[in-house]
């Protein structure tokens, strides 16, 4: 089963994501350059973190106009699982695939630290192996990671079960402590924290099992191999 890792100019977690997909979870992963079309037979798409276009103007906004986004939108419509991590989340939001916006952290600084997520929706292709409200130790690393939605949209998100992850405590001023959301259909998920940095015990100072479930959920959804 093929997973596409989209690479924009300035993506910098693409190689990390690729390593985790292939070496840790045995997916058949493939880099997809932003100017090319997505392969037709792709089973899932991941937009990794980084600084596409140097985060200029606003994180994610320039990449959201990349040619490949048209294909990503088509795939989204078809119900194919799509995950945006960090800058990938910012791009999904700026391209209108997910609601809300990511603003500068309240501290005004880049924040690289470990935190805990709480799973709020375990029905998505990336969370189906979690128990509801399960805790995930995971690192964040972002400067524009404060998720914002207005009150009406927040109500909608709650109603439609679109909040996927929340921080266990206030860290950057996000609306409702939101760390990740999905579209109404649930197949497009965006999250600020970096699961690819947390699945290997060697570099995870807490517990790598919960983060692994994000990838195992995808495995459960699309299967491995041919």
């Amino acid at each position: 089963m093929k997973v596409g890792v989209v690479v924009f100019p300035g993506s910098n977690c693409d190689r990390d994501m690729y390593h985790v997909l292939t070496d840790v979870f045995n997916f058949d992963a493939q880099y997809c350059w932003h100017e090319k079309a997505l392969p037709k037979n792709i089973d899932a798409v991941i937009l990794p973190g980084g600084f596409s276009y140097g985060d200029r103007l606003r994180a994610g906004v320039i990449a959201a106009h990349s040619p490949i986004i048209k294909d990503v939108k088509k795939m989204a419509k078809k119900g194919i699982p799509i995950l945006g991590v960090c800058n990938g989340f910012q791009i999904l939001v700026e391209s209108g695939l997910l609601p809300g916006i990511l603003l500068k952290n309240e501290s005004l600084n880049f924040m690289c630290e470990w935190t805990n997520l709480i799973v709020e929706n375990n029905k998505t292709p990336f969370t189906n192996q979690f128990k509801l409200h399960e805790k995930i130790p995971i690192p964040i690393a972002n400067g524009e990671g404060r998720y914002y939605v207005d009150d009406d949209t927040l109500k909608q998100l709650k109603k439609k079960n679109q909040i996927v992850f929340r921080y266990s405590q206030v860290i950057n001023g996000s609306s409702h402590r939101i760390a990740g959301v999905c579209n109404q259909e649930g197949n497009v998920v965006g999250m600020m924290p970096h699961p690819e940095r947390a699945v290997e015990s060697e570099i995870n100072p807490m517990d790598n099992k919960p983060s692994s479930l994000i990838f195992e959920s995808l495995l459960a959804k699309i299967g491995v191999g041919n």
């Binding site: 100019p9 300035g10 977690c13 140097g54 690289c112 630290e113 690192p139 690393a141």
Partner: protein, 721 residues
């Protein structure tokens, strides 16, 4: 820019005619201290640079170490002091960019950044605070955008840096040995400039770095563009994989002048180039301006005609400009034209090799009396003194800094910043540990012992993770070398480092000299900064949580060496006293022993004693583990000393080992066998940091209170003044 009169005379006699204006500018850039090392080069030769793991290649700016299984690690250190002192954000950021390109030019992928930051007294001085804050943001914005983790460093404040800044940046690269660029070129190969456009920014930068900071030269301000640097990295690594690069050099100080002349000289070729082919930012630039511009984010590549098209395609993919600016000739001349007209035509060996100086040196007068101590007021409440130290900017946790740096991108960071050295995993299953350290307070009191101390401290930090030191980087930062007293301190430091390198067989794999670091109030203190790389074959010592009943053992002797200590300088406001000195035999024995013990995998953690002495080192263990401890000061091995000295002496070669009680016997047996000086000095339990002497309580501090102060004081100082 200009040459001194005897240099001009020399140039004339070497080329047998008057130089043109453009030639003068080219030579002035290349013969600047920054590019030519004219004051230091003669002496730098004393530092041994060979070793079983060191790989030497023509034309490299970085050191290369063989880490086995076909892999290499590259490393380099640089500073960007002058630019950072006037524009801390851009100066620090472009400093990162520069050292990264040094790593890249060997053909390895940069995998880690270190930064050493020094400013004036941020408690009093708003300017210092501004410099510090913006330098940190500059490094963060640049490194984070590149996706190269900044995994460690150090921060220090001292009045000698008032209105000034030392921003040191080191970088590490990793790659396959077979992918190293073997610099070579032959006649008619193409010379290509790749990356950002050439502009007027940064004109005169290297000269600027070689002058004292009076003439705030505006043109030396450089605007960082990490995005283009990131694209350059990816493009170059792709070109490397396709074997499209015959020779490569990054553009740094001195711009094209240096890159062209040094490359040609190293490869024993000539280069003919046309400034009209250089992609410029402004349309009306003169040939000399193009030649000496220090615009950032540019690389020089030599390749064959046949490979050009492929290289251009890669550049196009990554949307970076790539201009063929000239070609290789066989006449060993650097020939600069504009269209058909010649503006400079010089022998490359003349340009690239300034006449080296042999500057006079003389022991500074102040050193005669510096070791004399003053009588201090007795401390009535040590707990209070401890709190004050934990809050002091030099000792307080640097989490406010390293939290702003993405230190995990690349998913190699096994031990993250916050402890001693940081550790990266490598693709061959081994681990690389690294740390940089400096100590100008000690180097001021004794430039030789001080420099050795920095070296040993960096080794200790690396050893605490279980790594054997395999290479060092030195960065020698001093004031005006023409002052014989300053030059003497430079030589002393260098000699000290050389001794250490020889005794410990840790080769110097790279370095940098930065002179003319002068503030309006005079020269900075001698500030060598030493980086040490260590290799771990199997298991790094990842600190485990300390729990109730765990034992604390100290290795090494505590001596009456208080000179340059935070206790003297911060608490007692006194500069002087005896500088801690490293006993080489003891140091080697302790290092070896600690490494052996770590291999046996029963330690919970190891931590070195440095700034703030035993008291601070123990507190750090308590605070990061949120557990109390009870220490008996009378058990601490070493000279018989007053309690303040036992607590705060910064003697070297000391390690704190934490282990479960059940392993104590095993440890003691090993330590006895290796004949190191050691003692069980206490146990962890409860929620207080307690130092006792006999039955008398000396320090009694709540861990949570101490931790809060230690973690937050730097941030509070920056944010709220």
């Amino acid at each position: 820019m200009s040459l001194e009169s005897q240099e001009l005379a020399e140039l004339k006699s070497k080329i047998g005619r008057d130089p043109t204006f453009t030639e003068l500018q080219i030579v002035a850039a290349e013969w600047s201290e920054h590019c030519s090392y004219k004051s230091s080069k003669k002496h730098l030769k004393m530092l041994p640079m060979k070793g079983p793991l060191v790989i030497h290649e023509t034309g490299y700016d970085s050191g290369v170490l063989d880490v086995g299984d076909g892999y290499v690690v590259t490393a380099h250190i640089e500073s960007h002091n002058h630019p950072s002192a006037v524009e801390p954000y851009g100066g620090a950021a472009t400093g990162v960019g520069g050292v990264i390109r040094d790593i890249l030019s060997t053909g390895t992928r940069p995998i880690a950044i270190f930064n050493g930051l020094r400013f004036g007294d941020i408690e009093k001085d708003q300017q210092a605070r501004w410099l510090f804050k913006n330098a940190v943001t500059g490094i963060a914005d640049y490194g984070n955008c590149l996706g190269i983790p900044t995994i460690g460093g150090e921060v220090e404040f001292d009045e000698c840096y008032q209105n000034y800044a030392l921003v040191d940046v080191a970088a590490i690269g990793f790659g396959k040995k077979e992918n190293l660029i073997k610099n070579h070129a032959k006649k008619d190969d193409l010379v290509i400039l790749l990356g950002g456009s050439t502009g007027r920014d940064g004109i005169g930068g290297s000269q600027f770095a070689s002058d004292s900071l009076e003439s705030e030269d505006r043109s030396a301000v450089q605007i960082p563009d990490p995005f283009i640097e990131k694209l350059i990295i990816e493009a170059i690594l792709e070109a490397r994989n396709e074997k499209l690069i015959h020779a490569m050099k990054d553009l740094g100080g001195g711009g094209l002048s240096c890159a062209i002349s040094e490359t040609a000289d190293a490869l024993e070729i000539g280069i003919e180039m046309d400034v009209e082919k250089v992609h410029t930012r402004e349309s009306d630039m003169r040939p000399d301006e193009i030649m000496v511009s220090e615009s950032q984010e540019r690389m020089l590549i030599i390749t064959s005609k046949a490979k050009l098209k492929k290289l251009q395609e890669i550049c196009k993919k990554f949307r970076i400009a790539c201009s063929v600016i000239g070609h290789v000739t066989s006449d060993n001349q650097m020939h600069v034209k504009k269209g058909k007209k010649t503006f400079a035509n010089l022998p490359t060996n003349v340009v690239a090799n300034a006449t080296l100086l042999d500057l006079p040196s003389k022991k500074p007068l102040y050193l005669e009396t510096i070791e004399e101590e003053k009588k201090f007021k007795a401390i009535s409440n040590y707990s209070k003194t401890m709190m004050k130290l934990l809050a002091s900017p030099n000792i307080a946790s640097k989490i406010w800094v390293y939290r702003q740096y993405d230190h995990e991108v690349g998913i190699r960071t096994v031990i993250k910043p916050g402890g001693d050295a940081s550790v990266l995993r490598l693709d061959n299953g081994k681990f690389l540990s690294a740390k940089i350290d400096g100590n100008p307070k000690q180097c001021y009191i004794n430039p030789r012992e001080g420099a050795i101390g920095c070296f040993e401290e960096a080794c200790r930090n690396v050893v605490c993770t279980g790594a054997k030191p395999i290479g060092m980087l030195d960065h020698l930062q001093f004031g005006n070398p023409k002052d014989p007293e300053i030059f003497w301190t430079f030589l002393e430091s260098l000699k000290g480092l050389t001794d250490f390198v020889k005794y410990f067989n840790i080769p110097c794999v790279g370095g940098k000299v930065s002179l003319y670091n002068e503030t309006p109030a005079g020269s900075i203190k001698p500030t060598p900064v030493i980086g040490v790389l260590g290799l771990i074959d199997k298991n790094p010592l990842i600190p485990q949580k300390i729990t109730d009943g765990d034992c604390l053992v100290i290795i090494g002797n505590t001596k009456n060496e208080m000179g340059g200590s935070e206790y003297f300088e911060y608490i007692n406001k006194f500069i002087g006293g005896k500088c801690p000195s490293v006993n080489f035999t003891e140091s080697k024995k302790n290092m070896k022993t600690v490494l052996e013990i770590i291999k046996n995998q029963f330690l919970k953690s190891a931590h070195d004693c440095s700034k703030g002495g035993l008291a601070v080192a123990v507190s750090e263990l308590c605070m990061t583990n949120q557990i109390g401890c009870k220490i008996s000061l009378e058990k601490v091995p070493g000279e018989k000393l007053d309690v303040d000295r036992i607590l705060f002496s910064e003697s070297h070669s000391r390690y704190l080992l934490v282990l479960e009680k059940k392993n104590l016997k095993k440890l003691e047996d090993m330590l006895k066998k290796s004949k190191v000086s050691f003692k069980l000095i206490g146990q962890f339990r409860g929620d207080k940091i307690q130092f006792n002497k006999g039955t008398k309580s000396i320090v009694d501090l709540r861990v949570d209170k101490a931790q809060k102060t230690w973690l937050n004081s730097l941030k509070d100082l920056i944010l709220h003044g």
